[in-house]
């Protein structure tokens, strides 16, 4: 009997050990899950692919997702969003929402001070919300932000925000950084854009434009015990080979944005470096044909011929890494907005040539297409592959690679040539592709993207989707919009979905991929 008990005990212990062992293995893979005892000290060196330093660090200038990460050590929000779009308390400790969803009452943290010594209170929070709304109203690039009717100070630490219209993404209007009103009034917007003053765990130290941005520890941070690090340094390293070498040598501890395949190839198997890939897409690049009345792409047969004649899925798969996936619509299959009724135009060059013939194009009168892309390696590779496919179906094709400013000048605000097929990016939030599409269609659409044609039915469905009470309720209309654009109209192709990728040294702890913005105050380094 005793022997049997021992055997059971041994078996249980073995099972437990194996379970713990497997848990341990999982922990070592995901640095974010290791929540051992925090260690104080050390500087966290952060970088990203491309540039980060030229953006203004005053949060109410323009919507600029790159700048949001670089201002995050110093400037906080009422709440931040996680990957599911859920609101996580920060400067607001709690909030109440009215039954109709149009009134939010925020209860703010007490005893919080800005880095310049001024108090954070409901008055300042209201001022920040008003500033954000004014910018959005002027740019006309959002819908939900513009719906904020009023922000009312109830008392020093209670703020009531009312909305006039319901939007599924209404909470985005409240997703606002809280900068110091005093710093703004004393120094002006230009100074604030280069000297972020907030309530965050780190205080702005200096910024050498396009080189490095340095923050030091906020000794008076309102969250007790935080931050753990002595400082944060953002390094601008534009050469990917140098960036990966810096990560390998330990000169960089965290790369928070890395869409390119070469970084993935260089760092994926590097000892001491963990690769974290998001399960949702935070951005799409798609090919959009010219939408002008005179363009050959206004002929449905031409649009469909391109769809059948180019194997976009194969191209994206072949030139992408683990952090890139193909989709036939604005959503990836793990997202609730994904519509499985949207069908792929299976690669069929014969059919493509038939359609071209019906449209009046053949060997004697070939269709000509100019592929327009920014000077981004992956986009150029994709252009070359598309060119090869188009030549096979008898379409004359040229590639026109533009640098950033020329691309903006010609593509974003300029008038396209009739034969342009343009590679364009549509930013998004991981939980909700609707946010990116809203920006594409904002009130400035006529000025910002004058040559993109959106079918009426698509616009109606996107607008209706945005006007729903919750994200769940917004899904059917958005799915219908995807069907209209990709099945019926065939107005966009080859969607390349970027999955957020982070490379992090194993000695950096408590990183949470789930958060939309890095919470620098909670990170620490064990080395």
């Amino acid at each position: 009997m005793k022997k049997r008990n021992w055997k059971r005990l041994l078996a249980s212990a073995l099972t437990l050990a194996l379970t713990l062992g497997s848990l341990g293995a999982a922990v070592s893979v995901h640095a974010s899950e290791d929540n051992g005892e925090p260690v104080y000290g050390g500087i966290l060196n952060v970088s990203r692919e491309g540039t980060m330093g030229e953006n203004d660090l005053y949060p109410h200038l323009k919507m600029n997702t790159q700048a949001y990460v670089t201002m995050a050590p110093a400037i906080e929000k009422l709440f931040y969003l996680n990957a599911q779009g859920e609101m996580v308390p920060q400067l607001a400790t709690s909030w109440d929402v009215s039954e109709d969803g149009l009134t939010y009452t925020f209860h703010l943290a007490e005893g919080v001070k800005f880095h310049d010594g001024s108090d954070f209170n409901a008055e300042v929070a209201k001022w920040n919300l008003d500033q954000a709304k004014a910018v959005v109203d002027e740019l006309g690039t959002g819908t939900s932000n513009g719906a904020m009717e009023s922000a009312t100070v109830i008392d020093d630490h209670t703020l009531e925000v009312k909305f006039s219209t319901m939007y599924a993404t209404l909470f985005l209007a409240l997703d606002v950084y809280m900068a110091s009103q005093k710093a703004y009034e004393e120094n002006g917007v230009e100074w604030c854009s280069k000297n972020p003053v907030g309530t965050g765990p780190f205080v702005f130290d200096h910024w050498t434009l396009d080189s490095e941005l340095v923050y030091t520890k906020n000794e008076n941070y309102w969250v007790e015990g935080q931050p753990y690090l002595d400082g944060i340094t953002f390094k601008v390293i534009k050469e990917n080979s140098v960036l990966s070498a810096s990560m390998k040598s330990g000169e960089v501890d965290l790369i928070h944005y890395a869409p390119s395949t070469d970084l993935m190839d260089a760092l994926r198997d590097e000892p001491g470096v963990t690769t974290l890939i998001s399960e949702q897409s935070s951005g799409f690049t798609e090919w959009i044909p010219c939408g002008l009345e005179t363009s050959p792409f206004r002929d449905e047969n031409v649009r469909k011929a391109i769809a059948y004649g180019v194997d976009f899925a194969a191209i994206v798969d072949s030139i992408g890494a683990d952090n890139v996936v193909y989709s036939n619509q604005f959503a990836i299959d793990s997202n609730m907005f994904y519509n499985s009724n949207v069908v792929n135009y299976e690669y069929d060059p014969e059919k493509a040539m038939e359609l071209l013939k019906e449209a009046g194009y053949d060997d004697s009168n070939p269709l000509s297409v100019e592929l327009i892309t920014e000077n981004v390696p992956a986009h150029k590779l994709m252009s070359e592959a598309i060119q090869a496919y188009l030549l096979q179906i008898g379409v004359n094709c040229e590639i026109n690679v533009m640098e950033g400013a020329a691309y903006f000048d010609n593509v974003i605000v300029g008038t396209w040539e009739d034969d342009w097929l343009v590679n364009m990016g549509t930013g998004s939030t991981a939980y909700c592709p609707l946010t990116g599409i809203n920006r594409l269609m904002g009130a400035n659409h006529a000025k910002m993207f004058p040559c993109v044609y959106f079918p009426d039915e698509w616009v109606e469905n996107v607008v209706e989707s945005a006007a729903q009470l919750t994200l769940e309720e917004a899904v059917p209309c958005f799915q219908k919009a995807n069907e209209v654009m990709f099945n019926d109209y065939c107005g966009m192709y080859g969607i390349r979905c970027a999955l957020d990728t982070v490379f992090i040294r194993d000695y950096v702890r408590n990183y949470n991929m789930d958060n939309q913005i890095i919470q620098f105050g909670t990170l620490w380094k064990t080395e």
Binding site: T51, E54, D56, K62, L139, K194, T208, L209, D210, S211, E212, K235, V236, I237, K238, E239, S241, V242, A245, S246, K248, S249, E251, N375, E403, G404, A405, A406, F408, D409, N410, I412, V413, N444, K447, M448
Partner: protein, 319 residues
């Protein structure tokens, strides 16, 4: 001598004048509207666009634009960066001393190492040292700098881990770290100049060694080192001065690539990004400043020629 210097300075002024004209013409030559590039997405606002065009003097005739720009430039106002939206002067002042520091040390390195290697090669003509130095010089001239840079990063930063991959530390902040961060970039910047200097020094010394006065010195029984350092080197280094002048130009050209690879926030990196972003005011300022440096160095070399070798001065005077 005074006449000679005045003539050279006057020539330098004419060249600088033309440089400012050509660099300002960039704003007309480059595709796109400068005001649209400056405003970015705000260019959609037509009123703002018109106001910005007026502020940038783009609504005036070209010659007026140029004169106004030149007047501002002379006063130290280089305009506002299209990309960063801050005064170009501030951006340049932050970076100029970094590029000058790197350039200065690279120049010193190329002069000292180049001359030593050149002398060694010449005095060991056709020997092992000569051949080794020749190989080194050929590699230095022909191998692309970016390839050598990546190779050095791999060997010294990733494999042996004795030097950093990238970055710049000001000497005032931490001298030791500053030196560590400067070793690789300075060496890469200096390498082509070292190679050129080595070959030029070697060729000049070998030429002078065949001169009659050297043969006479030998026949008088003077020691080998005395002949080399007292008589040969003095005359052999005159052509090296020409190479030195050219090296200054190539060092600044090389800084563009080196600063990009080693992520050094200097003028080279600034102008590379300015070209990519069509940040015309930065490009204009860079062209004028670098032209000034190169013209000044060429002027100093010319003057030095006149001092070191009176025959040059007399010949030019006669011409």
């Amino acid at each position: 001598m005074g006449k000679y210097i005045i003539k050279r300075v006057a020539q330098a002024f004419v060249v600088m004048f033309l440089v400012t004209l050509i660099s300002y013409a960039l704003i007309q030559i480059m595709p796109g509207d400068a005001a649209v590039i400056y405003l970015g997405s705000d260019a959609a606002n037509e009123e703002l666009l018109a106001r910005t065009r007026a502020e940038m003097n783009l609504d005036k005739p070209f010659v007026v634009q140029w004169v106004l720009w030149l007047a501002n430039f002379v006063r130290g106002d280089f305009g506002k960066s299209f990309h960063f939206h801050v005064p170009v002067r501030d951006l340049i002042m932050e970076r100029l001393d970094i590029t000058f520091t790197l350039g200065f040390f690279a120049l010193m390195l190329s002069v000292v190492v180049g001359i030593i290697l050149g002398i060694t090669a010449a005095t060991h003509r056709n020997g092992l040292w000569d051949n080794l130095i020749n190989v080194f010089a050929n590699v230095g001239i022909s191998a692309p700098s970016f390839w050598i840079s990546l190779l050095c990063i791999y060997i010294f930063a990733l494999h042996f881990r004795i030097l950093p991959v990238q970055g710049y530390v000001p000497p005032k902040k931490d001298l030791g770290e500053a030196v560590r961060h400067m070793i690789l970039p300075c060496f890469i910047m200096a390498l082509p100049s070292i190679a050129t200097m080595t070959r030029q020094t070697r060729a000049s010394i070998l030429d002078v060694l065949n001169e009659d006065y050297v043969r006479t010195a030998r026949s008088k029984g003077l020691k080998k080192n005395v002949i080399l350092y007292k008589h040969v080197l003095k005359n052999a280094l005159i052509p090296v001065l020409t190479v030195l002048g050219m090296s200054i130009a190539s060092l600044f050209g090389g800084s563009v690539m080196v600063e990009q690879i080693f992520n050094i926030p200097g003028m080279g990196q600034l102008v590379t990004n300015a070209v990519l972003n069509r940040d015309i005011p930065i490009i204009q300022a860079f062209i004028v400043i670098i032209s000034l440096v190169i013209i000044l160095s060429a002027l100093l070399v010319d003057i030095a020629y006149g001092i070191v070798d009176p025959r040059i001065r007399i010949a030019k005077g006669e011409n």
